[in-house]
């Protein structure tokens, strides 16, 4: 058994759970946090897939810049999604 495949499968399943929670969550701030968790597990997957360039560009953008921008937008508009 190859450790790469095992860690890859675990990180993808974790990303699946985080994605589902991000989509169904009513509070938008929590949804952004779940989306950042999904990005972290995708980063692990990219590292395992031997793509260091993508890790370098993906980590600051989707864990740092993008949640901050969405949080700015949420602070200026609505915080709760009404279904």
């Amino acid at each position: 058994m190859e450790l790469t495949y095992l860690l890859l499968a675990i990180s993808m399943l974790f990303a699946l759970v985080a994605t589902y929670l991000a989509i169904v969550e009513k509070s938008l701030v929590k949804a952004v946090v779940y989306s950042a968790l999904q990005s972290v597990s995708f980063t692990l997957a990219l590292y395992l897939l031997k793509a260091p360039d993508i890790v370098l560009v993906y980590l600051p953008i989707t864990v740092g810049v993008y949640p901050a921008a969405i949080l700015f937008l949420i602070r200026k508009t609505e915080e709760v999604e009404e279904v």
């Binding site: 399943l13 699946l16 589902y20 169904v24 890790v55 560009v57 600051p60 810049v65 700015f72």
Partner: protein, 270 residues
């Protein structure tokens, strides 16, 4: 909340069972067995001093593809980036900001001191990523993304008026970004100019000599490898991406009250 978590875990279990069934039924085809012939060509010529007419002279195959083999693609991607930023600037046209002193805004003193300590390190890392982009994993886009964290940190920790205090206005960010784009544009035409002056064949965005176009930019300075035009593209793209994102964050942090006031003052429906 708890119900959602249970549903999510059930979903994960369903995926595992489905994969088991798929594997029993012969799998989803042979996974990850070898690569395409095109890839072999790229890997074979990225730094091949024994084949001087086809090499890109960079040990980093990704940077070589981004700025040499598929350089025009990246050029047009940069144009899309430019247009996205111009669109954002157009939404905020005609909105002036009042100058204010940044003292009294922002987070607590501890956060400010930690941010001040972080920023030089972040600048050092980003510059190193940009300048070694042709040797190790990294390059202009990666360095720009790493550097774009700094204005975000400054705006959150010190408030946006701090950026105006250090004279980083919208106009300056736009100008520095244009310097980056100009650097890319000049580097595109350097081989053509060299070819015209010496009466040789040359292509746009050419890096190393080809069979019928013997113009090549210097791959070594002294004994250190700079990979011809790749280092210039990386540094220019670093400037363009960094200040493009800085400009977008400055726009994003303009107070909403100010914008609404000026929109109402104009009396114009956008």
């Amino acid at each position: 909340m708890k119900k959602d978590m249970i549903v999510a875990v059930c979903l994960a279990i369903v995926i595992v069972i489905m994969s088991y069934i798929a594997t029993l039924g012969g799998g989803l085809g042979p996974l990850f067995n070898g690569v395409r012939p095109l890839t072999i060509i790229y890997l074979n010529t990225t730094l091949n001093i024994h084949n001087p007419n086809f090499t890109a002279m960079s040990p980093e195959a990704v940077t070589a593809i981004v700025w040499d083999y598929r350089g025009l693609d990246t050029l047009f991607e940069t144009a899309v980036f430019y247009l996205a930023i111009i669109g954002s600037v157009a939404i905020y046209r005609g909105i002036d900001e009042k100058l204010r002193i940044s003292e009294g805004f922002g987070l607590s003193k501890i956060v400010k001191v930690v941010t001040k300590l972080l920023i030089p390190m972040n600048i050092a890392i980003a510059t190193s990523i940009a300048l070694h982009g042709h040797l190790t994993p990294g390059g202009g886009f990666q360095a720009g993304a790493a550097m774009a964290v700094i204005p975000m940190l400054l705006i959150i920790a010190f408030s946006r008026y701090f950026l105006l205090d250090i004279r980083l206005s919208r106009g300056l960010a736009l100008a520095l970004r244009s310097v980056g784009l100009l650097g890319i544009a000049l580097t595109v035409f350097i081989p053509v100019v060299i070819g015209l002056v010496n009466g040789l064949n040359a292509y746009i965005m050419q890096n190393q000599a080809k069979v019928n176009a013997p113009v090549s930019l210097p791959a070594f300075v002294g004994s250190s490898l700079i990979s011809g035009s790749l280092i210039m593209y990386n540094v220019s793209e670093f400037l363009a991406v960094t200040f493009g994102f800085t400009l977008l964050f400055i726009l994003l942090s303009i107070e909403e009250g100010l914008v609404k006031e000026q929109m109402r003052g104009e009396g114009v429906e956008h």
